[in-house]
Amino acid sequence: MSGRNDLTLDRRAVVAMLLADPGDLLVVAGLGAATYDAGAAGDRALNFYLWGAMGGTAMIGLGLALAQPNRRVLVITGDGDMLMGLGSLATIAAAHAPNLAIAVLDNAAFGETGAQSSHTGLGTDLAAVAAACGWAATATARDMQEATALRPRLRSEPLFAVIRISPAEVPRHLPPRDGAYLADRFRRALGVAEAS
């Protein structure tokens, strides 16, 4: 996994690039820094931020993608959340949701808790795990050019992408954290609040 440019990307710049001109993209952000990054890129009703439920981000994306097959769903989360939900990579591959993509911001560390090395820093290659689980399209980006090339694919393919980012801490940006508010806001923006 390591290389000349490995673990150098600025996470905020990466997520700002991924979420620029979001249109009607449905975004699910994993707890911790991925949620802060998504909020910093511009709070919007169709962003659903997690502040807990670790390991569940990708599966929320799957349930949403199956319920909204005509909309694109992008899950943005960290390596720790994806590692905790490793089995969901098999579940999602088996479900074949063509409108769901996952971008893992992989800093090879548990940044929220003191930057202990995560399993991706100790040898686990999440893109290889996803491929072995049956994901047909996987990719790893280590510089901004590679990451930028993933942006259109994340909005058009069932792609599992690992973006190797710097473990450096960035200023906290705290989006709303009231789950009932976030869920209701999301459903109203999607136009399903009164339907079910």
Partner: protein, 170 residues
């Protein structure tokens, strides 16, 4: 195999409740429901590697405007505890049907601990717990649980007692 008549009624109750997604961890007690859901073009089934995935799946379905149900065994309830904070905190509906082990003629001692703890654990995690002990009550209990979950936006579990589903014979 257990008599499937009450299970067909339970499936009909889920249909009446407009359940459109069904997540499951394979379980003999739920076999009829799982097969019926796979055969139904209006229900999307998702086989899970672990039970808590189904809670997140149901949350995503709700965000997208669909109703979901999770089928699991009592041994899986313990895997779900932290993920239950998702529907509780987000004021989302959550419906799960749980086949009970470890409470009625259980042969396998490994099933007893989680089976015994299941109603307490669910209640402690903020889930409303209902129980079906008799075949004639199962579908009505599921229908009422679905109404409670989806209309009042709370998590609800229906426990199918081991006496109801039939003790597994080894």
């Amino acid at each position: 195999m257990p008599n499937p008549i009450w299970q067909a009624d339970v499936f009909a109750a889920l249909k009446r409740a407009h359940v459109a997604q069904l997540g499951y961890v394979p379980d003999a007690g739920h076999a009829h429901l799982i097969n019926a859901a796979h055969a139904d073009p209006d229900i999307r089934t998702t086989v899970l590697t672990t039970e808590e995935e189904g809670i997140a799946l149901a949350a995503g379905a709700w965000l997208g405007g669909q109703r979901a149900v999770l089928l699991m065994q009592s041994s899986g309830v313990g895997n779900c505890i932290n993920m239950l904070s998702l529907p509780v905190n987000c004021r989302m509906p959550f419906l799960t049907l749980v086949t009970m082990r470890g409470e009625w003629g259980e042969f396998n001692p490994w099933q007893v601990a989680m089976g015994t703890a299941t109603p307490t654990v669910l209640t402690a995690a903020g889930v409303h717990v209902r129980r079906a002990d008799r075949p004639e009550d199962a579908a009505e209990t599921v229908g009422a649980a679905a109404a409670l979950a989806f209309a009042s936006c709370v998590p609800v579990a229906v426990l199918f007692s081991q006496r109801l589903i039939g003790t597994k014979v080894f």
